[in-house]
Symmetry: C2
Subunit: 222 residues, 2 copies
DNA sequence: AATAAACTGTAACAAATGTTACATTTAAAG
DNA sequence: CTTTAAATGTAACATTTGTTACAGTTTATT
């Protein structure tokens, strides 16, 4: 048994071939196919197994991969559905999950996941890294969202993006995307940006940004 | 070697005594004592080991345990300092950490943590659970913060707190604490609350809340 | 029971952001 | 190069929230 997209799975990706074969044959799990537009996981459902989406795509209200919030997130195979919640004390799904097409889901019991981790260091490393990345992402979003003013968010974001804060750098998102990322209205963002330019804090040329006044920049984090 | 507060550590707490002894004796780690008011970890530092705070307390700018944001978080021993970041791809500390008093920190290499996990199922379970709880907490905060209006935040929060939405329930935080939790000003919260009462959506009696109109409640999540 | 402290309600006003609308500029498609 | 669509700049106004201040209420302390 060899799965088509096994390699691109964030958790099972880097395992070597031997392991992959043994891994899947060995795994006590149930595979299930769901039709299109079916609600497969309800908010509040107990999460006692890892749901690995292996074929198709589902949608869920969540924080999306590219950082937008409370939008509909579309998850495409292969990806685990909520790997972090499997081990939390309050192990309930935080959201509904609905299929967008016919999907295949492998349901792996928690005990099996733990066994795999104990026996396969790469698997454990991948699992931990995947969750760690998610945590870091969430922390970052939370820091950004907890800044009250739009100018503050801009300042935080730009300082994070600029490797060298003395040189110009590129942001490859347009204003609409940035506004959505910040959770603010597009014209409001534009106003704040142009004010920051007028105040001599930054300069903008298309998608090239430059920080001109670091002190004023830092004052914006109130 | 037996550590005083070993049992109250979220990760090493539930291990049985045998394990505890073997565990600590066996562990290839370095213990270090830092004086008061020293910056021991800088934002951006590479995080290649688990920093376990075993004695004393430190402060860090972060999301606090009780949910307040971008405030100064005070961490008291025993607790790991940033267990999630150890395994993330971009393994850098997101914040500065400064000692508040003389502290003792055990620095455990990543490889040792992995070895412990492989050999000690309880340890692995604890580590995973601790990180999972953190993730769930962050997701929850993010959902709350991403609601734009104060009334929306209130609605979200109350619906989460009420086990049975048809019966009255208690919130044991006062208005100031709630306002801080929501990241809004106290008088603004009071205004929104009293408007929701006037509109017949909820009733409030001291710290007893009741949801009166579920439909109007749900309309607030715009 | 008296006093002080903390908490709550509320009002007037300031500030920030959202909304709508439209002109202008830039990028993409033909 | 022309035409069209997308992105940006900006203005007027509405709405929400913050700020400050203070009075009324409740709770804790003595």
């Amino acid at each position: 048994m060899k799965h088509k997209d096994f390699d691109s799975c964030p958790i099972c990706g880097n395992l070597n071939i031997e392991d992959e074969e043994a891994f899947l044959d060995d795994l006590k799990c149930t595979t299930k196919v769901y039709p299109k537009n079916e609600l497969i996981i309800r908010q509040g459902d107990v999460c006692d197994a890892l749901y690995m989406l292996t074929l198709g795509s589902v949608k869920t209200e969540m924080i999306t991969e590219n950082g937008n919030i409370l939008g509909i997130e579309i998850i495409k195979a292969p990806r685990p559905l909520a790997p972090a919640f499997l081990f939390s004390d309050n192990n309930h799904f935080p959201v509904d999950v609905t299929t967008l097409e016919e999907v295949e889901i492998i349901k792996i019991p928690k005990s099996e996941i733990m066994r795999m981790m104990m026996t396969n260091p790469d698997f454990m490393q991948n699992y931990l890294t995947h969750n760690a990345n998610r945590t870091q992402f969430l922390t970052n979003r939370l820091q950004l969202l907890s800044i009250k003013t739009i100018k503050g968010k801009i300042a935080h974001f730009l300082m994070e993006q600029a490797q060298d804060t003395t040189k110009p750098f590129y942001i490859n998102r347009n204003q609409s995307e940035l506004a959505e990322f910040f959770g603010v209205a597009r014209p409001s963002l534009a106003r704040s940006l142009s004010e920051m330019v007028q105040e001599g804090i930054i300069s903008i040329n298309k998608k090239e940004y430059k920080i001109l006044d670091m002190n004023k920049m830092k004052e914006l984090f109130v």
